[in-house]
């Protein structure tokens, strides 16, 4: 799995996650009503400068936008069709700037730091009996399940190929679901045997 996080430390890494999230929210609120192309152009240049200041690994992440070009082209075409190309460009640059800014926060914040930053927001879940630790447990379980499920899929695919010589594709979905649910029963039993998931009352 390719990580979006940049391993080498930059100046943006040093800023606490909460501040970065607050800044992101603030910028997104401030720029959403602005409809001037020069301002948006300046913003996108500033964002690119930010990426440049984070080093070449950050600049390489600009390639992530590649998959979105068709959508952007359609968007621009519709605005052009409606006779407002300039407005279309404003909307497009605003989208690009916000996507890149948000990605910059992700690039420079570790997942556990992000988890800690949002923990206060999760606290109200305690009122419905779900402790933040249970949420953390689910996040950990989900991330652990992913490579496990990959291996399971590969095993199913291989046995299908052994029988038919073809790739399984969607035909594997039903056995995959059955196998994964078996797996989840075992995991739940193992969890219960170790005292169960953290409850809301005990922290």
């Amino acid at each position: 799995m390719i990580s979006l996080y940049l391993p080498e430390r930059t100046w943006l890494h040093a800023i606490p996650a909460g501040w970065k999230l607050a800044a992101l929210a603030l910028i997104s609120l401030v720029i959403s009503p602005i409809e001037s192309l020069p301002v948006m152009g300046a913003l996108i240049l500033a964002v690119l400068a930010l990426y440049a200041s984070l080093g070449s690994a950050a600049l390489r992440q600009l390639a992530l936008l590649r998959a979105m070009w068709p959508l952007f082209a359609i968007l621009l075409a519709f605005h052009w069709w409606n006779g407002d190309l300039i407005f279309g460009l404003v909307v497009l640059t605003r989208l690009l700037a916000m996507i890149l800014l948000a990605n910059a926060v992700t690039m420079t914040t570790r997942m556990d730091a992000m988890m800690d930053a949002v923990e206060p927001i999760l606290r109200p879940l305690g009122w419905v009996g779900l402790s933040p630790r249970a949420v953390a447990l689910m996040v950990a379980m989900m991330i652990r399940f992913i490579p496990l499920l990959f291996a399971l899929w590969e095993a199913l695919n291989e046995s299908y190929r052994a029988r038919t010589g073809k790739r399984g594709g969607w035909r594997l979905l039903a056995p995959f679901c059955i196998q994964t649910l078996r797996l989840s029963h075992h995991t739940a039993e193992a969890l219960a045997a170790r005292g169960g998931a953290p409850r809301g009352d005990r922290r």
Binding site: L64, H79, L95, G129, I143, W170, A174
Partner: protein, 185 residues
């Protein structure tokens, strides 16, 4: 919440991620339109787990994506995806799972295949496009009609996914009946 529900929510969130990360998961008749199997994960979560657990699985998945994991199709993830024009679809997955699950639970007495098909079509197409189109129109400042036009090419792919979801649900119901939690909750 019971331990089992907790594990199943995490499981379907992971299945959703795996469906997006599997390379070349080809769906027949796709006809050149780039479709990912991922939105099927939302239908599956609802149809298999029922409304609340299905929606919780999608919320968990979005939460982990927001924390920075590149779990969406094509290795996308992080906070950036919440600022793309696809935000309506992304947030809509929660509603997809919830509606599909609710329909599945309401049709508990009906045979599995038609019930799952109705649940996936209403959840995975009607609800998903309602969210997706409104989100796209808001983000791109296009009119709802233009946003609808921009989204329409994906509907055939999602129709295929709805049928596949129903087939999977039927096979699971035969192979491991207690796995269809939306039926025996």
């Amino acid at each position: 919440m019971k331990d089992r529900s907790l594990v199943q929510i995490a499981l379907y969130a992971a299945i959703f991620a795996v469906l997006g990360l599997l390379p070349k998961f080809d769906i027949p008749l796709a006809g050149g339109v780039p479709i990912t199997a991922q939105s099927m994960g939302a239908m599956l979560a609802g149809v298999m787990l029922g409304a609340w657990r299905g929606a919780a699985a999608m919320v968990l998945m979005l939460f982990v994506v927001a924390l920075g994991a590149p779990l969406l199709a094509g290795g996308r993830g992080g906070l950036g995806v919440f600022f793309t024009p696809s935000i309506g679809f992304i947030v809509g997955w929660v509603a997809v799972a919830f509606v599909a699950g609710a329909i599945m639970q309401a049709l508990r007495k009906a045979p599995v295949f038609p019930a799952a098909l109705i649940a996936s079509v209403v959840g995975g197409i009607v609800v998903m496009y309602a969210f997706g189109i409104v989100g796209m129109a808001m983000r791109t400042q296009l009119s709802l009609l233009d946003a609808t036009k921009a989204c329409l090419i994906f509907i055939p792919g999602d129709a295929i996914k709805a049928v596949l979801t129903a087939l999977v649900a039927q096979t699971v119901a035969r192979g491991l009946p207690e796995a269809l939690l939306s039926r025996n909750a």
